[in-house]
C-alpha cells in the first residue's frame, strides 16, 4: 500500500520479497517487480471504520471512532449482558473477523489507555496494571508527544514512563499542554470525554464483492458483514426489523443490468444476527441472478421497537412463540410460502372444497366441522374404479360397509358434485371411501364409481 509515493504497509509475501515500509515506489518495484501497488484510500478506510463502529454498537451504545484506525468502546455496562469480559472480547474479535478486518483488541480502565495498549494488543484490568503496562511504551506512540519527540529523546525520555516522571510544571511549559492532558487521561488522573457515535436514522449499507460472482454461498458470506452492521444499528436504537431489501448490483456501463432486488419479510420482528443471516442466506440461494453481481447492498424497509425479552426462571417445554415464528419463517424461506400450509376450512359440503389448506402466513380460520366421519387421506383427483359384476373393484371386489351419504352441492360453481358416498371394504380389510356419481334420472348407463379417500 502506498501513500505519497512511499510504501506504507506490506503484505507478508511482499515482506518476504524484501519490501518494507518507508520504501519508495521505484525501490519496491525493483526488489519485487510482480508486487501489486495499491494507493491508500482514506475515504474507504473511514467507511470501514464506520462500519466497524456500527457493528460494535451491538455490544455497547458508547462507541467512538478514535484517531489512527482505532475504535473505542465503553463496555462497563455491557459485561453482565454478554457474559463477562472474556466472552465480550471474543464477541468483538468475531465481529472484526466477520467484517474481514484484522485488528488488535486491548482492554483498559481508561479510553486513552486502551488506545495506547491497542498498539500492542495488551490487557490491563486495573489502574495499577495499566500504569505498569504504559510505562515501557515508546514516546512516539502518543500522537501529542510526537512534535516534542526529539527534545524528549535529548533529555533521555524514551518511554512514556519516563515522561510521566518529569516535573509536571516544566513539561507543561515546554511541550504542548495536550501531551500532559493525554498522559493524565491515559492513567486515569483526569476524566475523559468522547463524542459517541450516533447511528444514522436509516440503514443503507453496501459491500463490494471482490470479483464478479454469481455464487450464492459467496454472496451470502459477504452479506454477513452487512448483517453485523445491521444488528449493531438495530441494537443502538432498540429496534427490530420486519422488512429489508437486498440489492445485488450488476455490471454498469454499456452492458448495464438493472440491480436484482430481493425483498425479505420477517414473520416476527427480528434483531438477532443468526436469524437475519439465515433468512438472507436462504433467500439469496433461492434467487436466480441474471448476471454476476459486483456490489451487495442492504437496505432496511421497515422497523419497529424491539420487544425486550426477559429470561424466565422456568422455561416452558415446547419453546416460545418466537421460536415457533422463527421456524415457520425459516421453512417458508427455503421451501416457499405455498409449501408450508395450515388448515383454513370452507363451509362447503364438497369434501375437496371444504378441506382447504392455505399458505401459513394467511390469517383467518374457522374450525372445521367435527361431526363428519371423513377418511384421513383425500385423493387430489378421485380415481375411477372398474366394476365387476356391478360391484366396484379396487385390488379386490369392494364390499359396501355403510349406509350412503348423499352429497349434492356446487351447482353454482365447478366442480358440481352429485354423489353417494359409501365406506367400502376390500378383501384385505382396508377401508376405502368411494362414491357413485349420480347422473340424470333418464340416464340409463351404468353408474360410475370413484375412489376418493383412504382411512389412514
Amino acid at each position: 500500500m502506498l501513500e505519497r509515493e512511499s510504501v506504507l504497509a506490506v503484505s507478508r509475501a511482499a515482506r518476504d520479497a524484501g519490501v518494507h515500509a518507508g520504501m519508495r515506489r521505484a525501490g519496491a518495484l525493483t526488489l519485487a517487480p510482480h508486487v501489486t501497488l495499491v494507493e491508500r484510500d482514506e475515504l474507504r478506510e473511514a467507511a470501514v471504520l464506520q462500519a466497524l463502529g456500527m457493528a460494535l454498537l451491538r455490544f455497547s451504545p458508547q462507541v467512538t471512532l478514535a484517531s489512527e484506525a482505532t475504535v473505542l468502546m465503553d463496555i462497563g455496562a455491557s459485561l453482565r449482558l454478554f457474559g463477562g469480559i472474556r466472552a465480550l472480547r471474543r464477541h468483538v474479535i468475531d465481529t472484526v473477523k466477520v467484517l474481514a478486518l484484522t485488528g488488535r483488541v486491548a482492554l483498559s480502565p481508561t479510553g486513552t489507555g486502551a488506545w495506547l495498549l491497542a498498539r500492542r494488543a495488551q490487557i490491563a484490568l486495573s489502574e495499577a496494571s495499566l500504569r505498569r503496562k504504559i510505562t515501557p511504551l515508546p514516546v512516539a506512540l502518543l500522537p501529542q508527544a510526537r512534535p516534542a519527540a526529539t527534545w524528549l529523546a535529548g533529555v533521555g525520555c524514551h518511554t512514556l514512563g519516563a515522561v510521566l516522571r518529569l516535573p509536571r510544571a516544566g513539561l507543561s511549559r515546554r511541550a504542548d499542554p495536550g501531551l500532559l492532558l493525554a498522559l493524565d487521561r491515559a492513567v486515569g488522573a483526569v476524566p475523559e470525554g468522547f463524542a459517541w457515535l450516533i447511528p444514522p436514522p436509516t440503514f443503507d449499507a453496501r459491500q463490494e464483492l471482490p470479483d464478479r460472482t454469481d455464487r450464492a454461498d459467496l454472496i451470502a458470506c459477504y452479506a454477513q458483514a452487512l448483517v453485523v452492521q445491521l444488528t449493531g444499528w438495530l441494537a443502538a436504537g432498540f429496534r427490530a426489523i420486519t422488512a429489508l431489501t437486498i440489492l445485488l448490483e450488476h455490471e454498469r456501463g454499456r452492458d448495464a443490468v438493472a440491480p436484482t432486488e430481493i425483498k425479505v419479510m420477517f414473520a416476527e420482528p427480528a434483531n438477532e444476527t443468526i436469524r437475519i443471516q439465515r433468512l438472507i442466506k436462504e433467500r439469496i440461494e433461492r434467487t436466480e441472478l441474471p448476471a454476476p453481481a459486483i456490489v451487495l447492498r442492504l437496505r432496511v424497509d421497515d422497523v419497529r421497537a424491539a420487544e425486550q425479552l426477559s429470561d424466565s426462571l422456568f422455561p416452558e417445554p415446547g419453546g416460545t412463540p418466537a421460536d415457533h415464528a422463527r421456524l415457520i419463517e425459516l421453512l417458508a424461506a427455503r421451501l416457499g410460502e405455498e409449501r408450508l400450509r395450515r388448515p383454513a376450512p370452507i363451509a362447503d359440503h364438497r369434501p375437496e372444497v371444504a378441506n382447504r389448506w392455505v399458505p401459513y402466513h394467511r390469517r383467518g380460520t374457522i374450525a372445521p366441522a367435527k361431526h363428519l366421519r371423513r377418511p384421513l387421506w383425500l385423493l387430489d383427483k378421485p380415481i375411477e374404479l372398474k366394476t365387476r359384476n356391478h360391484r366396484p373393484f379396487y385390488g379386490s371386489a369392494l364390499r359396501l360397509a355403510s349406509a350412503p351419504e348423499r352429497i349434492e352441492a356446487g351447482w353454482w360453481s365447478e366442480p358440481f358434485a352429485a354423489r353417494d358416498y359409501f365406506v367400502a371394504q376390500g378383501a384385505d380389510h382396508r377401508c376405502y371411501w368411494i362414491y357413485r356419481e349420480r347422473g340424470s334420472l333418464y340416464d340409463d348407463t351404468d353408474p360410475r364409481w370413484f375412489l376418493h379417500g383412504l382411512f389412514g
Binding site: 417445554p317 378441506n355 361431526h371 384421513l376
Partner: protein
C-alpha cells in the same frame, strides 16, 4: 479410626446375587423383559399396545419407524390418542402421501389449530425441513412420510430428534424393513377388521413373533361405537426363556 464396618456372611455354597440391570445403568435391561429406558414416553392410548411398548408408550425424542404396506391402513388413527393428548402443541405432517382431511382430524379430537402441512419438493428439502422442525424443539409430534431415505439421513434425523421433546414418527413402505435403521422401535402395520395388526420388528425387549391386534377408533363405519367383542386381544408378554448360562 474405623469409619465403616462392612460385614459379609460367607455361606459355604456361593450365592449368585442377581442385580437388576436398571440399577447399574438406566439404559440397561434384561433381554427377557421390556426395557424401561430413561426416555420419556407418550401414552399410546391403547392399553394393550402400551404394555408391549418399552417404556409404556410412544418414546419421545426418538425416531419411531412405522412400516405400512400402503397408505390408509390406519397408521395415523393408531397415533390419534397420542396426537390428541398433545393439546395445543404443533403437529407437523411432512410430505404426506395425500392431502390430509382436517375434518377427519377434527372428528378425532385433534386440535386443528396446531396442524402444519409441509410439502417440500425434493428429498433433500424434506430431510432438511424435518431436521429443522426437530431441532427447533417446538413440535409436539412430527409425522414424516418418505419412501427412500439413506441410513445416514435416518441417523441424522434420529440425532436431531434426541435434542427435542418431540414424538417423531417416520412412516415408510414395507421394503424398508430389510434396511438398517437407527430407530430403537420399528413396527409393521397390517390392516385388520376394525383395527390394525402391529408386528414388532425391533424393540428394546423380547422378540415377539405374533402380531398384536389394536382396535382403532373411530371406525370408518358410522354408528359402531363399541369395541368388537369377537376378538381376543393378545395376552400380556411372557418372559421368554433365556438359556441357563446367560441367566447365571
Amino acid at each position: 479410626m474405623i469409619l465403616y464396618i462392612h460385614t459379609a456372611l460367607l455361606p459355604s455354597a456361593p450365592i449368585i446375587m442377581i442385580v437388576a440391570p436398571e440399577s447399574i445403568h438406566p439404559a440397561l435391561w434384561r433381554a427377557s423383559s421390556l426395557g424401561r429406558g430413561a426416555t420419556r414416553c407418550l401414552a399410546s392410548g391403547h392399553a394393550h399396545l402400551d404394555t408391549e411398548l418399552p417404556g409404556g408408550g410412544w418414546p419421545v425424542g426418538t425416531l419411531v419407524d412405522l412400516l405400512t404396506p400402503h397408505a390408509g391402513v390406519g397408521e395415523v388413527r393408531l397415533l390419534q390418542p397420542a396426537l390428541t393428548s398433545l393439546g395445543a402443541r404443533p403437529i407437523f405432517f411432512v410430505s404426506p402421501p395425500h392431502s390430509p382431511s382436517m375434518q377427519a382430524l377434527a372428528n378425532w379430537g385433534v386440535p386443528t389449530g396446531g396442524l402444519h402441512l409441509v410439502e417440500p419438493q425434493t428429498l433433500a428439502d424434506a430431510l432438511w425441513s424435518t431436521e429443522q422442525i426437530l431441532r427447533a424443539g417446538i413440535a409436539g409430534a412430527v409425522l414424516f412420510w418418505q419412501p427412500q431415505v439413506r441410513s445416514e439421513a435416518l441417523r441424522r434425523l434420529h440425532l436431531a430428534a434426541q435434542t427435542s421433546e418431540t414424538a417423531f414418527f417416520m412412516i415408510r413402505p414395507l421394503n424398508a424393513a430389510n434396511l438398517a435403521s437407527p430407530s430403537p422401535l420399528r413396527l409393521r402395520l397390517e390392516p385388520a377388521p376394525d383395527g390394525v395388526s402391529v408386528f414388532f420388528l425391533k424393540r428394546r425387549g423380547p422378540a415377539r413373533d405374533e402380531p398384536l391386534f389394536v382396535p382403532l377408533y373411530p371406525s370408518p363405519f358410522a354408528s359402531k361405537r363399541h369395541a368388537p367383542v369377537d376378538r381376543r386381544t393378545s395376552p400380556l408378554p411372557l418372559p421368554r426363556s433365556v438359556s441357563a448360562d446367560l441367566d447365571a
